[in-house]
Every structure is written in C-alpha cells, then in structure tokens.
C-alpha cells in the first residue's frame, strides 16, 4: 500500500477484494483442518490433534520472540509450567473459576518473565541462550522441589472444566476449546507482528544498536515481548494440564523447550503458519516415537539431527524452491 500512496479508492478496491477472497479461503481451509480430527471420531487422533494445537500455541508465541524479535529463549517450557501449575492449583484445588484460573496462570508466567527478563535480556546471542537455559533448568528445579507442585510426583485428579454450563469433559469438546485458543493466539500473533511495535521488534532483531538509534526503546520492547510470549506460553500450559488431566515436572523441562524451538525452525522461524505446521509435524513424530519404547529418545535425537541437516532453513525453504521452480517453468 505504501508503494502507491496516491492510488484511488477505485484502484484499491479490486485488490482489497482479492485479499478478502484469500482471507476467506484461508479461514475455510483452517476450519477444514481443525474440523478434520473431529470428523474422524477417533479418540487417539483427537488426543494427537489436541497436543498439536497446544504445540502450535507454543510455537507461534516462541516464533514471535525468537523468529520475529530475535531473542533466543530456552525457557519457554518453564513459563508453560508456571501457567499449568497455577491453573491446576487455583481451579482444581481451590475451586476458582476455570477461565479466571487460566488467565491467572498466564499472568503469573508474565510476572515471572518480567522480573527475570529485565536482567536477562541485557544479554545477547549465545550469552542469552545459555542464561535462559539456566533459567529453564532452575525453574524445573523449583517444580521438582516445591511442595505446592506436588514434587516429582506432580498433581493427579484433574478433571476437565465446565464453562457456562457446558461441559468440556469429553476430549472432543475440549479439543474445540483448544483449537479456538490456537486460532485466537494465531490472530494475536498476526496483529503483534504487523503492528508498530512489531516493526520495532523486527528492527531490534536486525540490529539492536541501530534500532536504539532510530528511537526504539530496546530494553522495554524486549522485556515486553518476553513477558507477552511468556503469558501465551502460560496459557498454553494451563490448557495442557486439563488436556492431559495430570501435571508433573517432566512435562515442563528443557526437552519441551527444545522441541518447541525445533517446531519454530522447521516452520521457517518467521512464519506463523510455518510454526503451526512445524508443531503438527513434531507432535505427530513425537507421538509415533512412543511406540519404539526404550529407544524413543535415541530415535528422537537422530530425527532432530536429520531434520536440521536437511531443512536448516525450515519447510518454508521447500515452499520457496517449489515456487521458484513453478515460476521459472512459466517463464516469469
């Protein structure tokens, strides 16, 4: 739009029309993809689809933090865990309203991120990566050792909620809730990335010093996006706790942070749709790996190495290759 500022309304409208059509098509496509697992009527497929939806929320939010804003964090699973434990303690153990508990979990995750983010985000590059890894392992230690989290045993006896008189106890109904949350987070990500703040964050990613010079409040932007993405992770954690109906520290450790990072990289770092696709692929592969028993983590390690070897720039690079191939055939 900025390229042709003097374009008339008449010239604009067909383009707007085509964009509307694209949006409508995308919406219909998304709706079909979300509805597909429901139509299967299969409990296992719903379970995998639910975990994929949660993975997608995590990958989209880490995609904003790392892919879009350039702040590498290995602590995303820690914030996910804070959200999960908070929601369970409030709703299941103290009978607080489910939605309120969910958002309280997100808020506490955000608070933790804000407090540790101020000193941590002064660091850059490899130093930030290692510091957030220590943060992740430190918070994992809290989950294992604290009383309120049930220690290494965790918390059992979680029952899916009833919201406004409608019971989400069935995994099918709960899946609809998860899919709805994933769509909302996806839209929020789109809004953040394309906002004025989103452009500031992109400037920080490209060159922190230069961004500061042109007037971006670097530390405030970095801490804000760290807090916001941690809140989204906390929300995903709360939703996850009620999907699995059981929480334990193993669900919130460094391995999960690495898995979410691999989703983001497979998706091509900066693409929200890519992150969703990455989440679906990684979730399916991880679930399939349960069948190899003891060898699970060995095969998982090999899978991570192989996917990095063949797709270091993510699936988006394949899409790019296909598009280039197609256009050169047409002769454009």
């Amino acid at each position: 739009m900025n390229v042709q500022p003097q374009a008339t309304a008449a010239a604009k409208s067909p383009r707007n029309g085509s964009r509307l059509r694209t949006n409508a098509l995308a919406l219909a496509g998304a709706f079909a993809v979300i509805a597909l697992p429901l139509l299967s009527g299969n409990g296992y497929i719903i379970q995998v689809a639910s975990l994929a939806a949660i993975g997608a929320i995590m990958a989209v939010s880490l995609g904003i933090l790392y892919g879009h804003s350039g702040q590498l964090s290995f602590a995303h699973a820690a914030f996910y865990g804070v959200g999960a434990y908070t929601a369970v303690v409030l709703h299941t153990q103290h009978g607080v309203n489910f939605i309120v508990s969910l958002f309280a979990g997100a808020a506490l995750s955000g608070l933790v991120a804000f407090v540790v983010g101020l000193p941590t985000l002064r660091l850059r590059g490899n130093y930030l990566a290692i510091a957030t890894m220590a943060l992740q392992l430190g918070i994992s230690e809290v989950f294992v050792n604290a009383k309120i989290t049930g220690g290494s045993v965790g918390i059992l006896g979680i029952v899916r909620p009833t919201i406004a008189g409608f019971s989400f106890e069935s995994p099918f109904a709960y899946y609809v809730l998860l899919a709805l949350a994933a769509v909302l987070v996806f839209m929020l990500a789109h809004y953040i990335v394309h906002s004025r703040a989103g452009r500031g964050l992109a400037a920080i990613r490209e060159d922190e010093t230069a961004a500061g010079v042109i007037g971006v409040d670097v530390i405030w932007y970095k801490v804000s996006i760290f807090t916001i993405t941690a809140m989204i992770a906390g929300l995903a954690g709360g939703l996850f706790a009620y999907q699995l109906e059981y929480v334990s520290p193993e669900s919130f450790n460094l391995d999960w942070s690495i898995a979410v990072l691999s989703m983001v990289i497979i998706g091509g770092k900066r693409s929200a749709i890519g992150a969703v696709v990455g989440a679906v692929i990684v979730t399916i592969v991880t679930q399939l790996l349960f069948s190899v028993g003891d060898l699970q983590f060995l095969v998982y390690g090999v899978w991570i190495i192989v996917i990095m070897l063949f797709l270091p720039e993510g699936l988006v690079s394949i899409w790019g290759m296909v598009r280039r191939g197609a256009t050169s055939e047409v002769g454009l």
Partner: protein, 296 residues
C-alpha cells in the same frame, strides 16, 4: 573454620572439573563458534566409562585414563563428522547447529543408559577413600587427583597453544577463520581436531569428578549447564575465563551444598550468571565486541 576450609577444598575440586569442561567448550567454540551442547554428555560418558573400566572391570587406572581419553576423542570426532561438519558445509544458522548438538546429546544419553544401565554407579577413587588429615582438616585424596590432573592438563594445553605450530594455527583460525583458510590452514581439519580435543577434555573431567559424586547417565545436562555457565561467566572463548569461571561456579556450588541445600544448585547457577553478567555482559575476560556475542 575447619568446615570452611573443607568447603574451599570441595569448591576447588568441583571448580577444577568445571574448568576442564569450560575449557573443552572454549576449545571447540573459539575455532568453529559452535556451542556444542553434547559436551555435558561427553563428561557424563567419561564418568560412566571410568566406572566401567576401572571400578567394574578392574583395569589399571592409567590404562583407564588412556582408553577414556582416546575413546572420548573419537566420540567428539564422530559428532563433528556426522553432525556438525555437514551443517557447517551448508552454512546452516547457528541455531540449527545448536539444536542438532542437542540431538547428539539425546543419542549419547540414551545409548549410555541402554548400554550401561539406568542407575547411578559408585565410581571408585584411585587413591582410596581414607581422607588425609592436614592441619586438622580431612581432605579426600580424590581432591588432589582432580586438582593435580587439571593443573597438568592446563599446562599441557597452554604449551600446545602458545609454543607449537599447531597452536599457532588454532589461534589463527580462532582469530579469523577465513583469513586462516586463505594462508593455507585447513580449518576443517582443525575443527575436527578441536572436537576430538573437546571430547577428550570433557571425558577426563567426567572421569575425575565421578568419584566425588556418582556416575549416572542422567548427569549430562547438569554438567552441561555448569560448564556453559562457567564458560560465559569467564567469557566465551577465553582460557583464563574458563578457569576463573569454573572456580567461581565450584565455589558457589560448594557453598550452596554446605549451607543451603543440594536441591537448588541450578537456580543458584542462574542467579550467579545474572550477577556476573549484569556487571560484564560478555563475562569476566570476554571481549567487549558486539561481533563476539554470536549471531543466533
């Protein structure tokens, strides 16, 4: 007072082992700028092999040391050839290499657990368990072994880096890889060599530390965060930094263990990282050059 001296000696022993690990991280990082997250697993594997060869099979200690040094060198080389080199050749982003080294870590951890059992193993110290009493302070003989061998390795490494042609090539490649390539230094071969060296050093660190706790296939990640914390506290790529970072971390660990509890070690490590890097964002001996932050 006596208990304080004990804490200091424990700190020096753990600090020496962490310094070795941080050194092994820096050896690899300074030539290839790869953060190899499998190095905690190298250290774990060194400890497990030490238990298997010396405690369980009863080989002489010197033979165990030689076998572990050679074997872990080969493990490091294998990781370079199979995982890191193909990614470097593709000029893959640092993050892709990082995640791939985590893949290597999973493979080593799972293979060790499957091959040698999933339990903690008591590793036998080579000089026995009877503490020497010096000035009323009981000191475990293993403390002398750890500190002594670490000092020997540091002197050897310093000699190699500062007094040999190979060391000159390594320093040239660390300073400017493309320039080194241009004057006829085979950087690929040097990278292979540093991965072998990194495996060797981390393996020895694991062998040395295992009699002070246990050997277990699950210790790799704890070792990794201690080694990487020591490396960034000292300054990534800096040799004196590795030693100082290792000692600071060892001291913090020993104080936590003695006066607070063993349950919050990693949380304390995180706080320590923040405290030191708040004052110096690139570590105590790190260069204050933005390019040295790494480009993830």
């Amino acid at each position: 007072m006596v208990s304080f001296v004990e804490v200091v000696i424990a700190a020096a022993s753990f600090g020496a082992a962490f310094a070795l690990l941080a050194l092994s991280i820096n050896v690899i990082y300074s030539t290839s700028t790869v953060l190899n997250f499998a190095q905690g697993e190298f250290m774990m594997l060194g400890g497990m092999l030490g238990w298997a060869l010396y405690s369980a099979m009863g080989l002489p200690y010197w033979l165990a040391v030689v076998l572990i040094a050679g074997g872990m060198g080969l493990v490091g080389l294998a990781e370079y050839v199979l995982v890191v080199r193909p990614l470097l050749l593709r000029r893959a982003a640092d993050i892709a290499i990082m995640i791939a080294t985590f893949g290597a870590a999973y493979v080593i951890r799972t293979a060790t657990a499957l091959g040698m059992g999933r339990v903690e193993r008591p590793a036998k110290p080579p000089l026995g368990q009877t503490p020497f009493v010096i000035g009323g302070v009981p000191i475990l003989p293993q403390s002398f072994v750890v500190i002594g061998i670490t000092c020997a390795v540091l002197i050897l490494a310093w000699w190699l880096y500062s007094r040999t042609t190979l060391g000159l090539a390594l320093r040239a490649a660390a300073f400017d890889p493309d320039g080194a390539q241009l004057v006829g230094i085979n950087v690929d071969r040097l990278n292979a060599l540093t991965f072998a060296g990194g495996g060797l050093l981390a393996g020895i660190a694991g062998l040395l530390i295992s009699p002070l706790s246990y050997a277990s296939p699950w210790f790799g990640i704890t070792f990794a965060i201690s080694g990487f914390a020591a490396a960034i506290i000292g300054g990534l790529g800096s040799w004196p930094g590795a030693v100082v970072g290792g000692i600071i971390l060892g001291l913090a660990n020993a104080l936590m263990l003695r006066y607070v509890s063993g349950q919050w070690g990693t949380f304390a490590t995180f706080i320590l990282i923040l405290l030191v890097l708040y004052i110096r964002p690139t570590g105590i001996f790190g260069e204050r050059n933005a390019a040295k932050f790494g480009t993830v």
